[in-house]
Amino acid sequence: MNNLNRASGATRKTPLKPILAAKRRRQLYPFFFSMGPVPLTIISVLLIGLMAVLYLTQLGQAVSANQRIQEMRAEQAVLQRQNQDLVNTIANEQSPGYIATQAKKLGLAPGGPQNVQIIVVKNLEPIANTDQHIQP
């Protein structure tokens, strides 16, 4: 172009506008617009691959978390079951029938009011227990 212009004898000053325009473009547009299609494609593929890797990592963590939650829920179910069994055992051993049976095995006999003698003492006042040490 310049040779042609020189050949034709025309004199032209270097226009400022294209340089400014180029500067402005660099300011306004991201750098990769100056890239060609091939580097753009390669970078896109790399970015997509990176995102995929990140996504798969998150997914893997979610699956592990899910598995852990499942294990904990199973463990919780087992513990709940054991707890219910223990509650049942305690209730059974607190029942009067069980206590009476065990007491009988130990050679104890049921005491009853027939063995208790009631003595009526008129004007009897209770004695206050002020000794702290012998309190249960």
Partner: protein, 586 residues
Amino acid sequence: MHDQLRRARKRQMVIFLLVVVSMGGLLGRLYYWQIAEAHSGYNLAQLASQEHLQNQILNAPRGIIYDAAGHILATNVIRDDVYIEPLQFSVDHPDNPQEALTSLILTLHRVLPQVSENTLTQDFSLNQQAVLVATRINPVQSQQLQSLQLPDVFLEPRTWRVYPAGSLAAQILGFVSASTNQGVYGIEGQYNTLLAGKPGSFTAETDLNGNPLVVGASSEQPPVPGANITLTIDSNVEYMIQNDLDNAVKQLGAQGGSVTVVNARTGAVVAMAGNPTFDPNQYGNYSGQLGCLGTEGVYFNPSLYCAYEPGSVMKVVTMAAALDQGLITPDTTFYDPGYISFNDAPTVYNWNYQGYGRETMTQVLLHSANVGAAWVAHNILHAQRFYPYVAAFHLGQAYNIDGAEEPGDYRTPANSPQIWSPSDLTRQAFGQSIQVTPLQMAMVYQAIANGGVMMRPYIVASIDNNGHITTTQPQVQRRVISAKAAQELSGMLVSAAFDGAPQSTIVPGYTVASKTGTATTQGISATQTEASMAGFLPASNPQFVILVKLDRPAGSIFGITAAGPLWKTIAQQLMWYYHVPPDAGT
């Protein structure tokens, strides 16, 4: 050159148009399947969801039943049922399955000795997907099967209702049917909706193994646990009384019996024991057994359901009606020759045909004279002044406190004008020709003990519905008689207690107000009696009302000799257990 370029451009345009049309067609098809069909009746989205969405029902834990001291009377446990997969076994062992089958059966039988090898062999030959081979195995067996990881065998957990105290208070509690999971009889039946709670649901996507993906899209509606119920009965007292009743029934050769104890001030039920009874953990074993003298299933609470002719314990109602209306006093006298004739009713005789000469109203109770009671009802009260008091004492009406309840029955001029006759009046005066339940009769004595005020009986002390606690407050049913009449009647009962035996010999240290009853049933031998005793103590400050009833005792048929000793034992135990201060000599 231009022609070639033109032709090339035309070909480009054609190819471009072809690509555009095919892309357009593809987009159209995508729209059709993804949007149009997804929301149509065919609903592909729903079909797809069915493949990988799982909806699970979350069962609500059933509420627990406690006694007054907080001891558990009914709770839940999880036990496994054992299933085998015969069809899958056939698929897994197409060649020579016998060896594997024998080994599997031997292993299963070793862990589950209650299931015979023959039964297992038969079950494996069935052409079914899954077969139940054992139910409700114990935790040790569950653990063994889980660790063995037997192929084509799986465990299915199931919640069971258990009653740790066995048959204690069985007829109060009722039971939960294993097949329907619904409460039947007693508290379990009456409060089934509260105890059952509300099931929840859990919806989530599942993985290949069917495990829900909780981190994915899921929704959960948590179950609402059943309410916990606390009763007014005390396990220890209930146990003592049940034991005493069982011993008395056995000793006397009775067909059964019941004991009802209520708090004299509040109407709270302290104990209700019945014989025969059942074990709610094995309720199926009692399906053919009868109680209530062979008229009802053993599951019914006899205190509420076994209506009977009360006999002489009913005389307090006759006396209460006359005292309250000022028609008699405890010292009003009349002449008792051993019988009384009426113009409009058959002659009434004393139970032993004995005449007592001139006797006071107090002595009528002391001698348990039918003549005196009939005289008061027929000659003094008449029907119009007698029956309102029978109704005010809540006789012939159910309280509905614990499931099925028999209201009882008696004829009056109002409800049976064609059939009622003055004979009914004279007989009802001493507890014949009238059917009441033990609870109803106990509440009559409660009203007398409580200064004439009848309280509404209750057996549920509180309900805890997921933190929201409702406590039953004692409630006045009605004032039946005046405080003065109640006091007079209490004095009469103290004099009449145990046929006038010295108070110090009845329950040492305590004054007792009681009345015996020996009722016969029409059409049945006079030796087949309902022997009962009702009363309260301490008479000066009543704490407990006790009613004891023995059905057809063989050894001794009278209230004083059959029911009396049992009543005394229970009274002594209650005073001792609750540390009630003695009142003898006050």
